[in-house]
Amino acid sequence: METRTESMPASVATATPLRSLVIAIAGSGGDGVALIGDLLLKMAAHQGLYGMLVQSYGPQIRGGESAVVLRIGDREICYEGEDTDVLVCFRAADLKRFRGSLHLHDDSLLILEEKDTGALPEWLGTTNQPVYRHPFATWDGDVEVAGEPKNMMALALLCRALGWPEELARQAMAERFSHKPALVDRNMPTFRKAYDAPNVPQLLQLKGHGVPLVVETGNEAVARGAMSAGLEFFAGYPITPSSEVMETLIDELPAAGGRIIQAEDEISALGMVVGASFGGVPSMTATSGPGLSLMTEMMGLSSMAEIPTVIVDCQRAGPATGMPSRTEQSDLYHAIYGGHGDFPRAVLGVFDVVHARDVMFRAFELAENYQLPVLVLSDAYVAQRRQIRDGVTDRRDKPRRWRWTPEDGPARFAITGDQPVNAFRVPGTPGGTYLAAGIEHTEDGNPSADPGVHQRMSEKRFKKLEAIAADTRTWVRTMGDPAAAKGIIAWGSSYGMLREWIESHPEYRVFMPEILHPFPIEAFTEWRKGLLETTTVELSYQGQFHRYLSSLTDMNGVRSFARSGGLPMSMRELGEMLGVPATRKER
């Protein structure tokens, strides 16, 4: 069987290892660390370098400590990396919230405030390199007062250490602040002064391919992927970490002729989507776990009334409110099994920003073709990251719903031998009026409480799953040597880490389903042949993925590496679990 194997663009498919730098910047609210990361990423993209940025907050989503971890490299990157190569920190005290996100190594460069003598936390590790200190803060005696922008100084020092010209920074700032150009001029003197500071250490000099690249977040990619797949209507309710899907669509969908409503809650959001799609218009919503819980009854309606819907769930640590800005993979059960009664739905998983667009296209394809709810499981780690990606050249035809004409017969829900779906009756079509219902109904759409009808109609609806399973049997991504003796099975945002794992661990092969339900079981059975050791890896305390697989196939002897979310899975952790060193990357 043919599955989609991992392939790199020709330009980077050479054997040269990835050269990359992990840069972390930690500060407090007002220091503007997010802006530094944002500008560095822009500058990298401009040079044809790849990279990604994740932002980490303290317990408050607004205000308090914040840090960005940015990784830049000369090949596509969708993993934030292991050790911190450069750490910029304005106050040692700010570090305490970021345990687990930052680790120094022997050659790490530390850039610290000249006057801050606070001890660095032990968990951070140590470096053999001398600390570089810079007068970021302005002091009145012992009290820090407002002064020149620290983030401009940090940006300048990093540019200098990276060997990036001042002009590149000016250009990135001009782009970022196109609405207030005076700001750039006001900040450049601060930038220049720090840029010319003495004895700034040099970092690994990365060379990009020179073709400017695009910076996109997972949520933006989801929104734009949906638009290129034909999205015409969106309704949503703000929720971390998915809100930017709606925000992107507020900016971009009406201009493309679509419509958008910010609903009063998630029940209404999916209700509006069901209503718009009942009207024949490709529609979707985006939410996170708590919202998905509210949408569950409506998911059943979408399936029962055979109305296409696309539901994006940017998973966060649950249950209840959980940890809204932290990632987890624990909505899998809900997506696959959630809801009362028996009803078919399809569930897809998102690997990274690049994959998100492709997944959205497939989601609409399945929803429109099979007239059922399609859930797309993203998570905070993909949704909130900024990733540098190649330009998009999707020229596929948009999926189009099979539209009813009088030749298609009188019964909206006719059971036909050969087809799992019926032509969709778009309101406005003469002669096509019918009753759609969440009540069990006959082939004509008339309400029925006949147990025989219920059995037959359930069977009719579930036929779609068989057809989808046949259509999607190759929707998997395999990586590594197909003959490798050890195997890892994972899904979703673990992709980036595992892609690097197999490069340093050739004894492993990796299986990642792109469709989680119906599960591509044939491809999986084929892939696992000859494995001597197999492990599932996931961010779910219960091990939902492992247990789900156990319900489908024999998982005896397969180890489960499952933990609750918060931080994404790292190579270090995986190495410890598997008893294998998490091989150092090339520096």
Binding site: I267, S268, M272, V274, G275
Partner: protein, 277 residues
Amino acid sequence: MKPKDLRTELLPVWCTGCGDFGVLKGLTQALSDLEIAPEKLAVISGIGCSSRLPGYVKAYSFNTIHGRALPIASGLKTARPELTTVVVGGDGDGFSIGLGHLPHAIRRDINLTYIVMDNGIYGLTKGQASPTTELESKRTRGLAGGDEQPLNPVLLVLSAGCGFVARTHAGNMPHMREMMKQAIEYPGFSFVHVLAGCVTYQPRNYSDQLLQRSYELPAEYDKSDLGAAITAVRDGRFALGVIYKRPLEEVAATAGATADEDWTPPDAVLKQDLPTE
């Protein structure tokens, strides 16, 4: 098209004497008067006895889930503004489980007509108290909530800013026909409160009791006066007629869905070239 041509072949499940028969008739009469073609009409409901109504009207009908008719209709009307969209349901569906959606649908002023058949009881689940069941009725019959005040739905929609509010009685066909016609014609969110009898879980003379407590608003009543409307719905009696109608020159400024009626539906819907394989 005659009113009876707007009916499907499906026979209503309602009890003989149910007020909902009158509403079905009044609605088809109004639609017939307005010459709305079945294919240009969508009738959306939630769950309840009265929510079965869409199945009896020749239209693109949707009998959805309990309490959620308004969001579904709002999505439909926003995506397909050229469709006449009527939402129907009962007091439990609209004023209990689905109440949270009502002020927001009003706020958006999407051009929907929402007809609530208020019989003051849960009929389908066999006689529990609804948000509009009278206190005395709950107490004498031993229903839950004997110390909970009933809701005044018309006051509620007025305070939420509804631009068209009417009340009618399910036994008064000409009046109901007229109210529904005006509501559908109104170019924003319109609300019709129908006093409807329940012959099974309310006293047999309940419909007459409702009528006895009702009065028609006099000809000199100024329906553009919101203050007068609020006074009229607070005196314990049921004022019948158009209680409030926002002057049309004010409607255009607020009615989002009517401001751009030149909008054309998406290609995927209009084009006749979709595959029919």
